[in-house]
């Protein structure tokens, strides 16, 4: 028992409250939903015995459409963020003036100090049938009738890209910032043109930032709830909405748990891929 009086022992005691809190109110609930997901649906949607695989059957059966849609939406979101975010990060980090760089970054982060709900709501104004975008297109005579933009998969995509865009830009910016542009001169001296230099030198060396950004965008997108709820309607329904519908009156808690477990598996898989390929490449960083 003398160990508790050593530096390490006292350190362990300091960690105890956090271990308790995270253990009971974070890890234990995760295990709870794994167990619940194998139980039957009882009265009022709560779980009861016997154990069953029925909910996983439905998750990969009837609900596979929504599962696949969620993964597809999250993937497209990640790719679009990368396509807009990489050049932007490149532009900012290659500016000579440090203050201008900071100003550029500030104007990316500033909109994201706003509450997520409000930011998503703003897109309802823009995309609605009587919304700003339709009004502009109508007045220019580009369209005859208002386009249906809100309550579609497209609206969810726009909302998610908007919501998680900085998570892509900031890690890539950090990566390019660390990149030594002497490598570019070397590649040019060796006869590579800009295209080759970018794909063979710059991009591979900034890949850690790209992978970090992609993981940071993909994970919250797969689990998105607010965005598809406010912008998606039934056509843009994602797994997060499906999970939330399993609570309350006509809900089914075990089914909701099974859906959550599958979503968690997707998230952990993404994390694993990132840890395996993203962190190793960074080497001694």
């Amino acid at each position: 028992m003398n160990w508790f009086k050593s530096q390490d022992g006292r350190g362990f005691l300091l960690a105890l409250p956090a271990i308790f809190w995270l253990g009971v109110f974070f890890i234990l609930p995760l295990f709870t939903i794994v167990v619940i997901s194998f139980m039957s649906r009882g009265a009022g949607g709560v779980a009861e015995l016997p154990y069953t695989l029925a909910h996983y059957d439905r998750t990969f059966g009837v609900f596979s459409v929504i599962l696949i849609r969620s993964i597809r939406i999250a993937s497209i979101t990640t790719i679009v963020c990368l396509f807009i975010g990489y050049p932007l990060a490149f532009f900012i980090s290659t500016r000579k003036n440090r203050n201008f760089q900071n100003l550029c970054l500030f104007f990316i982060i500033l909109p994201f100090w706003t509450n997520f709900l409000v930011r998503t709501y703003a897109w309802r104004i823009l995309l609605g049938d009587a919304g700003t975008i339709n009004a502009i297109l109508l007045s220019w005579g580009w369209i005859e009738e208002p386009l249906r933009l809100l309550n579609t998969e497209f609206a969810v995509l726009v909302g998610l890209i908007y919501g998680f865009f900085p998570f892509m830009v900031l890690p890539i910016y950090a990566s390019i910032e660390r990149f030594d542009f002497k490598f570019v001169d070397a590649a040019h001296d060796l006869g590579a043109n800009d295209w080759t230099t970018f794909w063979r030198v710059v991009f591979p060396m900034t890949l850690p930032g790209v992978l970090a950004g992609s993981a940071l965008v993909f994970i919250p997108s797969v689990g998105a709830f607010i965005t598809p709820d406010l912008l998606g309607g039934t056509r843009g329904l994602m797994i997060g909405n499906l999970i939330s519908r399993q609570f309350g009156g006509s809900g089914n808690m075990p089914l909701g748990s099974a859906l959550s477990v599958v979503m968690m598996a997707v998230v952990l898989l993404t994390l694993l891929v990132y840890v395996r390929f993203g962190i190793n490449r960074e080497g001694d960083d």
């Binding site: 390490d8 956090a18 709560v46 807009i84 932007l88 100090w113 689990g223 709830f225 609570f247």
Partner: protein, 306 residues
């Protein structure tokens, strides 16, 4: 003379594919244009929704397509309890939600800041079995989607309260306690990460010097360690407060009757429809959170300089 001619001949020998050069220069020009065009598009994308929201909150007509004139009527309506076509809105309810938000955020921030600072000190100053696992677990709440945290905790409470009822016959309902517990669970990680970063930059020699000069463990902490990590603790606490105040998803699944927080209240309005009053509330919220985070950034900047 002869040597010069030799060099000249040599230069002529180098094969230059003029088409390739032209192609490469064109490629570079396209790249440059793209590099300047992209930020214009990106910043337009980032800022237009916010500008549209703010502009139409001052619009005289209820439309969100044409601006017909400036008015403060919608802001006036919010504070006088008139909500146009909306049902379920009253200034009183909004202020109640704000009060609930403050109770939750303050309590969760205080608990999370204490526990988070403790584990940050523990992880950066000592070594014990299972430390690496603890490190990994500490990062999980930051990366796992909010809905997983919210749902798993809600189910956990449901099971726990069910058991409690079958044991004692008393039913516990979700309320402030469940929301605060949930907020602390995700905030510990954020506080710990911020404080740890501060501790990593701190020179351990100061603590050693204090011990050499005869300070006991408590005195070393009270007069040396704590003042040095205080900026990190304040920054972590402010981050926790902001996250707690802004949280919707986790709160939504763990709140009970009468514990509606401001984001949950606002969500109820946003889901209904688009009205100028909601635009006005959104604009106010936007200004509040921007000012709050601005203050915390200023504080962090100032304390970091010290």
């Amino acid at each position: 003379m002869a040597a010069d001619a030799k060099v000249k001949n040599h230069v002529q020998d180098i094969y230059v594919d003029e088409n390739a050069v032209r192609r490469d220069m064109l490629l570079r020009r396209i790249g440059k244009i793209g590099l300047y065009f992209n930020p214009i598009f990106a910043y337009f994308f980032l800022w237009s929704p916010i500008l549209v929201l703010v502009i139409f909150s001052f619009n005289r007509s209820r439309s969100v397509s044409t601006f017909t004139g400036f008015t403060l009527r919608w802001y006036n309506n919010i504070f006088n309890g008139v909500m146009g076509t909306e049902v379920g809105f009253s200034t009183q309810n909004m202020l109640l939600a704000l009060r609930n938000s403050m109770i939750v955020s303050f309590s969760a921030t205080i608990i999370a800041t204490i526990i988070g600072t403790m584990i940050a000190m523990s992880l950066s100053r000592s070594n014990f079995p299972g430390k690496r696992i603890l490190d990994a677990v500490l990062f999980l709440p930051v990366v796992i989607p909010e809905i997983t945290q919210g749902i798993s905790l809600a189910i956990f409470f449901n099971v726990l309260f069910g058991w409690w009822q079958s044991l004692t016959g008393q039913r516990i309902f979700p309320g402030f306690h469940t929301i605060i517990i949930a907020h602390v669970a995700f905030n510990i990680s954020y506080v710990a990460i911020v404080v740890r970063a501060r501790m990593a930059n701190m020179n351990p020699r100061f603590e050693e010097a204090a011990r050499d000069l005869g300070a006991n463990e408590w005195q070393t902490f009270r007069y040396v360690t704590f003042p040095l990590i205080l900026p990190g603790v304040v920054a972590g606490g402010l981050l926790a407060f902001t996250l707690s105040l802004d949280d919707f998803v986790v709160t939504f699944f763990n709140s009970g009757v009468g514990t509606t927080t401001l984001p949950v209240f606002v969500y109820g309005l946003l889901k209904l429809s688009i009205t100028p009053e909601i635009n006005a509330i959104s604009t106010i919220l936007m200004v509040i959170s921007t000012v709050l985070i601005g203050i915390s950034m200023l504080l962090q900047g100032r304390t970091a300089l010290r």
